[in-house]
Symmetry: C2
Subunit: 217 residues, 2 copies
Amino acid sequence: MFKIREIITISDYVTLINIVLGLMAILLNDFAFVYVAVVFDALDGMVARKTNTVSDFGAELDSICDVVSFGVAPAYLLYANIGILSPGLNMWGALLASVFICCGALRLARFGVLDVKGFIGLPIPAGALFVCSILHASLIYNGAITGVLGYVVLFVYLIAGLLMICDIRYPKYPRKAYLVAFSLAILIGVLGQPIPLVLCLIFYTIYGVYGTLTHEL
Amino acid sequence: MFKIREIITISDYVTLINIVLGLMAILLNDFAFVYVAVVFDALDGMVARKTNTVSDFGAELDSICDVVSFGVAPAYLLYANIGILSPGLNMWGALLASVFICCGALRLARFGVLDVKGFIGLPIPAGALFVCSILHASLIYNGAITGVLGYVVLFVYLIAGLLMICDIRYPKYPRKAYLVAFSLAILIGVLGQPIPLVLCLIFYTIYGVYGTLTHEL
């Protein structure tokens, strides 16, 4: 069976919405599309389980779409906006964008071949939200400390990239209270205020690092 | 085994060069990077076979990188340049860019789960070369028939997208003479003249359609 019209399911259409949102984030240089793409990325898995249409094809398509929305889009947004924060950092922007996308691709490829409970390394949607919300907030509050925030953002992209390819374990389903707070933060981010999202992502990122350290020590 | 440093091989690094080239095509709005990415996409498979490091991880990474270089990059180049060919077509550019990337993602996901000889549907690197070389040539020769070429390019993106998700069979290894002509065409394309590439890709695209038709009739 190799006809796409015979293997495609309803959840795969949701996944395609995700990749189109990622493309729009790039074409329109707009963070909101990345935030909404995270919602559709969570939805496609839910739809697949509810409709009993979990498939290898769907999983493959999911990784392929995720690299666009959570790899290319954040990388492009960095390069397109870094000059506003700290003029002259364009070359560094291109370099860190490349590092980020390589880490994201490696993270997705490992996820595709691994079969372990929970996540190994920061999941790429979380990585994308982490860097995008901080870049977004930096652009809003740039007036206060012009020239400095570009360096902070570059450093955040590097850290997020490394956290994605490291071996730290992240919980797959955080507590319900966190999910509610997180959904609200995404909504507020889409409306133009990324600070709640920054706080959620800093919390989640540190959560995995802290959990791994205390578990292993 | 989930540590990336333990599973990554030399061919995976070649694959990462591919994704960085795709990202550069987007950041710098430059067709040459897509042409060179095709070379590295062919190289990584050769290196993996020569060094005996063919792996599921490598195949997964390959698909993830291909969607960037041969899906997002052509889509972005369309949107970024369509206004030059036919002013006012930006919305149509965004729409066809979305269709193209969805077809590319479906094509890659099907390739990832299928195990058949040859290709089913136009391979995505060929699809990318097809649309990019025609868009590139249109921008060069736009002066002759201003306003018309934008519509031609949109139509080509649609056709290439549909050919990628259709069931036409394409040969995996074309004849050696074709490979030499094709390599030369890529080199000339990188140097700024995409016409030989346009001819090669029109030939290859029709070749599959013709072969399937004559085989099935």
